[in-house]
C-alpha cells in the first residue's frame, strides 16, 4: 500500500510539474463551454437574402419590409435582375433570393392571386429548408392579414409549449454534448500517453524490474487523470450554472457519480490505446484521429442518432459518450432521478469493467 501511495505521488508530481499541459487541460473545458455555450446554436438566423423586385408597388414594398424586419433574415441588397443571382450565390453573398414578378400587386388585386418565387442556396440543405419555412410563414401571416375581414370559420388554434428550453437556446443541447466530448477526449488522450511514454523513454524497464504489481502501475497512472477530470467536471458545471443559466436540476450526487463512471470508462479506453501503441506519437494520433470525429458524430448531440443507417446506430452503442450524454440531459436538464437512467449507468459500468479487464490482461510485464 505504501508503495502504491509513493507511486501515485510520483505520477502527481509528473503531471503538476508540466504547467503548460496543465493549463491546457483546464483551459480547454473553460474556453469551450464559454465559446460554444454562447456562440453555437442550432437556430438559423441572420440569413443573408437578396430581393429582385420587378413590380415595385405597395404590396411588394410592404412584404419586403416585413421580411427585412424579421430576425431570421439579414436583408443584403436589392438586385436589378435575376441574371445577377447566379453570381451572388457563387460568391456566397446570399443564401436566398426572393423574386417578385412584374405587376405583382395588380395581379393580387384583380385576379386574387399572385405568385412570388423563392430561390434558396441548398448547398446547406438544412438551412435552405429552414429559411424557406420561415419565409412561407411570413407570407402566410401576410395572407392572414389580407383575409382578416373575410373571417375564418372553424378555427383550430394549436397551443405550443417548448418544454425544457422555451427560448430554443443552443446551450441546453451543447453543454451536455461538450461535457461528454471534452471529458471523453481529455481522459483518453492524457491516459493514452501514460504507459507508452515510459516505454519510449526507457523508464519502463526500471518499473518492471522493481517488486511492484503491474496493477499498481496502472492505478497510479490513472489517479492524477481522474482527479483532473473530476475538477474539470466541477468547473464545467459551475460555468454553465453561472454563465449559461443551466443549473443541475436533478441530484448533483447522482450526476457526479455517473460522471466518475464515465471518466473511468474513458480512462480505460486511453489505457488500452497506450498499452497497444508503440510510440507516443502513434498513441496520440490514435486517440485524436481515431476518436475525435466519431465521438462528435456518434454521441448524438450534433445529429439525431435515429436518422443514421442501422449499422451506425449499432456502432454508436459502443461509444460511451452516447450513454453519458443521455444521462446528463436527463439528470441535469430534466431533473430526473436514478430510475430514469439506471439502464445507461449499467451499460457504462459494464463497458468500464470490460475495458479495464482487457487492459490489465494485455499489459505485458516483458519489454519484447
Amino acid at each position: 500500500m505504501r508503495q502504491l501511495i509513493t507511486f501515485i505521488r510520483k505520477e502527481f508530481l509528473h503531471v503538476f510539474r508540466d504547467r503548460k499541459s496543465l493549463l491546457m487541460l483546464f483551459g480547454l473545458p473553460i474556453a469551450q463551454i464559454v465559446l460554444f455555450g454562447f456562440a453555437l446554436s442550432n437556430e438559423i438566423k441572420n440569413s443573408r437574402i437578396a430581393i429582385v423586385d420587378y413590380s415595385k408597388d405597395a404590396t411588394t414594398t410592404r412584404l419586403i419590409s416585413k421580411i427585412a424586419a424579421s430576425d431570421y433574415f439579414d436583408f443584403q441588397r436589392s438586385l436589378a435582375g435575376a441574371d445577377q443571382l447566379q453570381a451572388a450565390f457563387k460568391k456566397g453573398d446570399i443564401k436566398m433570393a426572393v423574386i417578385f414578378p412584374a405587376n405583382f400587386g395588380d395581379d393580387l388585386m384583380h385576379t386574387g392571386k399572385a405568385t412570388m418565387q423563392v430561390i434558396a442556396d441548398a448547398s446547406d440543405p438544412n438551412q435552405a429548408t429552414t429559411i424557406t419555412n420561415y419565409l412561407s410563414q411570413i407570407v402566410t401571416d401576410y395572407n392572414a392579414e389580407l383575409a382578416k375581414d373575410a373571417g375564418q370559420p372553424m378555427q383550430i388554434n394549436p397551443e405550443t409549449q417548448m418544454m425544457y428550453n422555451p427560448e430554443l437556446r443552443g446551450a441546453p443541447n451543447f453543454v451536455p454534448g461538450v461535457m461528454a466530448l471534452v471529458l471523453m477526449l481529455v481522459c483518453t488522450m492524457m491516459t493514452s500517453v501514460a504507459i507508452v511514454k515510459e516505454k519510449e523513454l526507457g523508464t519502463m524497464e526500471i518499473l518492471l524490474v522493481s517488486p511492484f504489481k503491474p496493477v499498481y502501475i496502472i492505478i497510479a497512472k490513472l489517479a492524477p487523470n481522474l482527479l483532473i477530470s473530476v475538477l474539470n467536471l466541477f468547473i464545467i458545471l459551475l460555468l454553465s450554472w453561472l454563465f449559461l443559466d443551466l443549473p443541475v436540476k436533478g441530484s448533483l450526487l447522482l450526476l457526479v457519480t455517473c460522471s466518475i463512471l464515465f471518466i473511468l470508462t474513458s480512462l480505460s479506453i486511453g489505457l488500452l490505446l497506450s498499452i497497444n501503441a508503440q510510440t507516443q506519437q502513434a498513441a496520440m494520433m490514435g486517440s485524436l484521429m481515431g476518436m475525435m470525429l466519431p465521438t462528435m458524430l456518434l454521441t448524438g448531440f450534433l445529429f439525431p442518432i435515429e436518422n443514421m443507417p442501422l449499422a451506425l446506430q449499432i456502432l454508436s452503442n459502443l461509444v460511451p459518450s452516447r450513454w453519458y450524454f443521455i444521462i446528463v440531459k436527463r439528470v441535469m436538464l430534466k431533473g430526473l432521478g436514478i430510475t430514469a437512467i439506471w439502464r445507461e449507468m449499467l451499460i457504462l459500468t459494464s463497458m468500464c469493467v470490460l475495458l479495464f479487464t482487457i487492459s490489465l490482461r494485455k499489459f505485458k510485464i516483458r519489454l519484447q
Binding site: D18, K20, L25, Q32, L35, A39, E43, K45, N46, R48, F89, K90, K91, G92, K95, G112, K113, A114, T115, M116, Q117, V118, I119, A122, S123, P125, T130, L135, T140, N143, L146, A150, P153, M154, Q155, P158, E159, T160, Q161, M163, L168, R169, G170, L181, A277, T279, Q280, Q281, M284, M285, M292, P294, L297, L302, F303, P304, L312, K329, R330, A340
Partner: protein
C-alpha cells in the same frame, strides 16, 4: 538546396518507416470519411409523437391520420392522459406530445373555435423548431380541409399570395453533398496541424534536434524540410479523400480542381504554420498535443462544419474569421457544390494566406537553434 534534399530524404524515410503512424495518418481518416457522412444527417423525418385523443371522433382520427401520413412523424403510441404523454416526452420515448381535447369536433362545429395542445421537447433546438413548424403547417392544412368539407361555404375569396420555392445547387437536399467536403477538411486539419507539431517536438524530446542545431543548416531550410513532407502528405490525403467522395458518394467537384488544390496548398501552409508555432512553444510531445487538441477541437466546432457561422453572434463571427479552417471549409463547399471560381473566393483565400503568413513568421521568429 542540396541540404534541403537530404533533409527531405531523412524526413520521408522516418515517416514511411513507421507503419503504425502511416496507417493512422491515411487509412483511419479515409475510413472515417466513408462512414461518418452517413451519420451526419440532419433531416428531420423521424419525429416521434405521442397522442392523447380525448375526443375519439372522426375529426380527431382524421387529424392523426394526416399527421402520420406526412412522413415527418412517427406515432409512438396513444397515451391515456396528457400527463402520461408528457412523461413519455420526459423519458425520450416521444419528442412531441399532442393532446386533442374532449369535444374537439363538437366545439369546432358549434363554436367555430377550439384549442389543441402541443408540447415539444426543445432541448434539441433544430428538431423542435422544424418539428413544430411541420406540425403547425399540417394542422393548417387540415383546418382548410375540414372547412371545405364540412362547411358549404366556398374557400375564402380573399387574395392569396403563393410562394413557390426552388432549391439551387442541391435540389434533392442531399445532406452528404454538404458534409463530405467539410469532413474531409477536418481530417486534413487534424493530420496537418497535429503531425507538424508532434514531429518537431519529437526531435526535441529524443534529443536529436541538438544534432541538427550544431550543423550549419539554416533555420528556414530546417523548417522547410519539416513542412514539405507534411504538405505532400496533406495533398495525398486530400486527393484520396476526393476519390473516396467520388466513389462512395458520387461527389464530383463542379468547380475546377486547380482552384481546389491552390486553396489546399494555401490552407496547408497556414495549418502547418500553426503546428510549427505550437511546436516552438512545447518541450514535450504531450504539451504539443494538448495545445494542438485545444485548437483543433475549437476549430472543428466553430468553423461551420456542423452549425452555421452566420447564426453566431457578431463577436463569435469575428473570432471565427481568424480560424483558417472556417475559410477553407467555405471555399470547399463553394467550389465543390456551386463551381465558384478564383474571383468568387478572393476574400477567404486572401484571409487564409494572411493568417498563414502571420503564423509562419511568428513560428520562424520564435524558433531558436539555441535553447
Amino acid at each position: 538546396m542540396r541540404t534541403l534534399i537530404f533533409l527531405l530524404e531523412k524526413e520521408f524515410r522516418q515517416i514511411l518507416r513507421n507503419r503504425q503512424i502511416l496507417s493512422t495518418l491515411l487509412i483511419a481518416p479515409l475510413i472515417q470519411l466513408i462512414l461518418l457522412p452517413l451519420a451526419a444527417d440532419y433531416s428531420v423525418k423521424n419525429i416521434s409523437l405521442a397522442v392523447v385523443d380525448n375526443d375519439h371522433s372522426p375529426f380527431s382520427q382524421r387529424l392523426i391520420n394526416k399527421i402520420t401520413a406526412s412522413g415527418h412523424f412517427r406515432l409512438t403510441g396513444y397515451a391515456p392522459s396528457y400527463p402520461e404523454a408528457l412523461k413519455m416526452v420526459e423519458q425520450d420515448k416521444a419528442d412531441i406530445a399532442l393532446q386533442i381535447p374532449i369535444h374537439f369536433e363538437r366545439d369546432l362545429v358549434r363554436e367555430n373555435n377550439k384549442q389543441l395542445y402541443v408540447a415539444i421537447n426543445a432541448i434539441e433546438g433544430t428538431k423542435a423548431n422544424l418539428g413544430g413548424a411541420y406540425l403547425a403547417s399540417i394542422i393548417r392544412n387540415y383546418n382548410d380541409d375540414i372547412r371545405l368539407r364540412w362547411q358549404s361555404t366556398t374557400p375564402s375569396t380573399s387574395p392569396q399570395i403563393e410562394a413557390v420555392s426552388t432549391n439551387w445547387y442541391n435540389p434533392l437536399l442531399n445532406f452528404k453533398l454538404y458534409m463530405v467536403p467539410a469532413i474531409l477538411v477536418v481530417l486534413v486539419t487534424v493530420m496537418a496541424a497535429l503531425q507538424s507539431a508532434l514531429n518537431i517536438v519529437h526531435e526535441k524530446e529524443s534529443g536529436t534536434i541538438e544534432q541538427i542545431n550544431v550543423t550549419p543548416i539554416k533555420k528556414h531550410i530546417f523548417i522547410l524540410g519539416k513542412m514539405i513532407p507534411f504538405l505532400a502528405l496533406g495533398i495525398i490525403l486530400f486527393t484520396l479523400g476526393l476519390v473516396v467522395g467520388w466513389i462512395f458518394y458520387g461527389i464530383v467537384p463542379i468547380g475546377s480542381l486547380l482552384v481546389l488544390y491552390a486553396s489546399l496548398i494555401v490552407y496547408l501552409f497556414a495549418m502547418l504554420g500553426l503546428g510549427l508555432l505550437l511546436a516552438t512553444y512545447s518541450a514535450t510531445q504531450q504539451q504539443s498535443m494538448s495545445l494542438a487538441f485545444f485548437f483543433i477541437n475549437i476549430f472543428n466546432m466553430m468553423s461551420g462544419v456542423f452549425t452555421a457561422v452566420d447564426s453566431m453572434p457578431g463577436w463569435a463571427q469575428a473570432i471565427v474569421s481568424t480560424f483558417p479552417p472556417s475559410h477553407f471549409i467555405k471555399i470547399m463547399r463553394m467550389v465543390v457544390l456551386k463551381g465558384s471560381s478564383f474571383s468568387d473566393i478572393t476574400w477567404p483565400l486572401t484571409a487564409m494566406a494572411l493568417i498563414g503568413l502571420f503564423l509562419n513568421t511568428w513560428a520562424v521568429l520564435n524558433y531558436r537553434k539555441t535553447s
